[in-house]
Amino acid sequence: MPDTVPGSLRAYLHGLPGVDEVGVGRRAADLATRSIKTTAKRSAIDLAISMVDLTTLEGADTPGKVRALAAKAVRPDPADPTAPSVAALCVYPDMVAVAAEALKGSGVGLASVATGFPAGRTSLEVKLADTSAAVAAGATEIDMVIDRGAFLAGDYRKVFDEITAVKEQCGPAHLKVILETGELVTHDNVRRASWLALHAGADFIKTSTGKVAPAATLPVTLIMLEAVRDYRAATGRQVGVKPAGGIRTTKDAIRYLVLVKEIAGDDWLDPAWFRLGASTLLNDLLMQRTKLATGHYGGPDYYTID
């Protein structure tokens, strides 16, 4: 449920403390030097796998492709059943029914992008219909996009109201709000958009669609983690964070986990509160996982291409 924002939204959001770009960059770079080895690496890899939102968002997606990816989401490494399942499969709304069928009984979540993903340049009616169709078809999570045009024009109320309307439409499904930080550009905007989405009732705030460069970055994710940390301290409600796009290697993924641990804290080190939106990342995680267990790398042909 949306909570009350005191005074005007504009006064509130512009009253948030600023973000110093250089300082955030330094902090993120410093945390990226953490050295995660041996047992720490093993637990980080399994945690990262369990946090992946395995994603396919292409015009060329077909039922066959979605089924293949669903199988991989449930059992990422056919050769090693101890590898955990991913958190969710993430598809376009018209693929939700196929995915729901393929994932039935697996415990893997089903996320659907909605609200005119990725640009969001459509009417509220269409966005709401898009959302309810995805939920009706079996989506347990909705990844919506905010109206970046309205945000940049300073029409914060419109952005806020759209989020609350979509949230209402979600019913039991969890709502992830995509800020598309690559289009918001400044770190001050990222902080304001984060707090706007938090107050509007987001269950997760997500960096990017993956269709705009830059997608997820460490500094932007750091700012969003600070926002959810401070929001919980202020309101008692915990909200998740999902960086998406551009996270391709195990090393990248572990850097995000370090960020979660040191900025938001251990409470967020759980698939319920942190996700990694990615596709190719999973194979690298599996490859590194096998390397740690056996001492050698299997070639790429030992991991499935879907």
């Binding site: 250089v22 955030v24 041996t38 720490a40 251990d266």
Partner: protein, 475 residues
């Protein structure tokens, strides 16, 4: 699923081979001291001895100055600047090539975390040599004269052993001077490794001479009649002694001494980055930093929120094995320094300030002090006035910009300050009124060889770094 905790990630010490015993480096060679006295340098993280080092007596210091004078007159001052530059570039490259080894050695001898030696001390030390190598053939364009002074007597502290050596040696050599350098008694090992680097770079004998020892050796070096110039970094107390020793002589002097830097946080600051800056300001290098931001001046209207965030941040600092790549806070350098920190922290408590430290187990062996924040500090407290040189922050509040500046300047020191505000005009207003050699704007403890560094008042005189740093070595 296992909980994600960082496993130990120690940097290997196998890359360093420490000799059991070191001699003096005079005239391009390691030579035995005339005295029988030796000192033992220990690893402050576990109190294990690392090596035995010669203690230079007056005769040794004489030999070093004779070698430096000979090298100055016969070789170094006669070389074209471009040739001197080549040696400096070579030294810089060898430092880079041996960076990992030197970083481990520095962490072992000093106690500072490998993360800092690897990412700060070593890159900056190499950068200083590169920077001044570039000046060597361009002195005519610096507008400061082109004649070297002669032989420089240089005494450096234990907090950044190799980096302070670079700050001293690089500009002296670039300008055509030769050097007799005395490293600190608790951290001589990287200076002795640097002596090997001089050999490796083929530096002519006598251009750099390194004499190890304690206070008596240092006094002999700065008082030596063969010194044309004295450069010292260390405590204000010793700085005064040096100023007295050279008074009435024609020696030139630069002193880089203590500080009690103010870190001013206005109510509109980028609060999370300000918290980072406060942490960097006082806990970087265990607070063993002359320009540390040891006094936090926070605007009263945001003090409670800022301090809550600061405490939460400090809770996350990782104290322990300096060689662990995830360690943020290492060991205090010596038993003597630990005693000084303890004494001042006790004085803070006794005078009515409130100390706080995170729940942070300290290793059983070695010299350790937890990160500590004192609130309720007033200008009258010793911990607001005296340099602690440890991980101890004194927090004071202010109401208006005028009060912030007045309190920041109300100290016998004047080395560094930091200002945190998102408002440009307030930043400039404040910075222009602070009597400090370095003022950092929305950051803290950032260094660059191109930027001059030095103090006002009891923080010393002269500047090191940048074009200004050449002036101290040219006539």
């Amino acid at each position: 699923m296992e909980i994600f905790e960082y496993a130990p990630a120690p940097e290997s010490r196998a890359i360093v081979s420490i000799r059991p015993s070191y001699d003096l480096f005079i005239d391009g060679e390691f030579v035995e001291s005339k005295s029988d006295e030796r000192l033992v340098t220990v690893n402050p993280a576990d109190e294990e001895p690392l090596a035995e080092v010669a203690v230079a007596d007056d005769a040794d210091v004489d030999r070093a100055f004779a070698a430096a004078r000979r090298a100055f007159e016969q070789v170094w001052s006669r070389l074209p600047g471009a040739e001197r530059g080549k040696y400096l570039f070579r030294i810089a490259r060898v430092i880079q090539e041996r960076a990992r080894e030197l970083a481990v050695l520095e962490s072992l001898d000093n106690g500072k975390p490998i993360k800092e030696t690897r990412d700060v001390d070593l890159p900056l030390a190499a950068a200083h040599f590169f920077y001044y190598a570039g000046w060597a053939d361009k002195l005519a364009h610096a507008g400061l004269g082109t004649r070297p002074l002669g032989v420089a007597a240089q005494v450096i502290p234990w907090n950044f052993p190799l980096l302070m050596l670079a700050w001293k040696v690089a500009p002296a050599l670039a300008t055509g001077n030769t050097v007799v350098l005395k490293p600190a008694e608790t951290t001589p090992l990287t200076a002795l490794a640097f002596a090997e680097i001089c050999q490796e770079a083929g530096l002519p004998p006598g251009v750099v001479n390194i004499v190890t020892g304690a206070g008596a050796t240092g006094r002999a070096v700065v008082a030596h009649p063969g010194a044309d110039k004295v450069a010292f970094t260390g405590s204000t107390e010793v700085g005064r002694e040096i100023a007295r020793a050279v008074a009435g002589t024609d020696k030139r002097v630069t002193l880089e001494l203590g500080g009690k830097g103010a870190n001013i946080v206005y109510d509109d600051a980028a609060i999370d980055q300000a918290v980072e800056g406060i942490v960097t300001g006082i806990f970087f290098n265990q607070g063993h930093v002359c320009c540390a931001g040891s006094r936090l001046l926070v605007q009263e209207s945001i003090a409670d929120e800022l301090l809550a965030r600061l405490r939460a941040r400090i809770e996350r600092l990782r104290l322990g094995d300096p060689l662990d790549k995830n360690t943020d806070i290492g060991a205090v350098n010596s038993a003597a320094q630990l005693a000084r920190i303890r004494e001042l922290a006790a004085a803070g408590q006794a005078e009515g300030a409130t100390g706080w430290s995170p729940a942070c187990p300290l290793p059983e062996r070695g010299y350790w002090f937890p990160p500590t924040v004192f609130t309720g500090v007033t200008q009258a407290h010793r911990i607001a006035r005296e340099e602690i040189f440890g991980p101890v922050l004194s927090v004071l509040t202010f109401r208006t910009p005028e009060e912030a500046v007045a309190k920041a300047n109300n100290t016998p020191y004047g080395l560094s300050a930091g200002v945190w505000t998102e408002k440009g005009s307030l930043m400039l207003w404040t910075a222009s009124r602070l009597r400090a050699g370095v003022v950092w704007s929305n950051t803290f403890n950032v260094f660059d060889p191109a930027s001059p560094f030095g103090g006002y008042k009891e923080s010393g005189y002269g500047r090191e770094g940048g074009r200004h740093g050449l002036e101290a070595y040219l006539d």
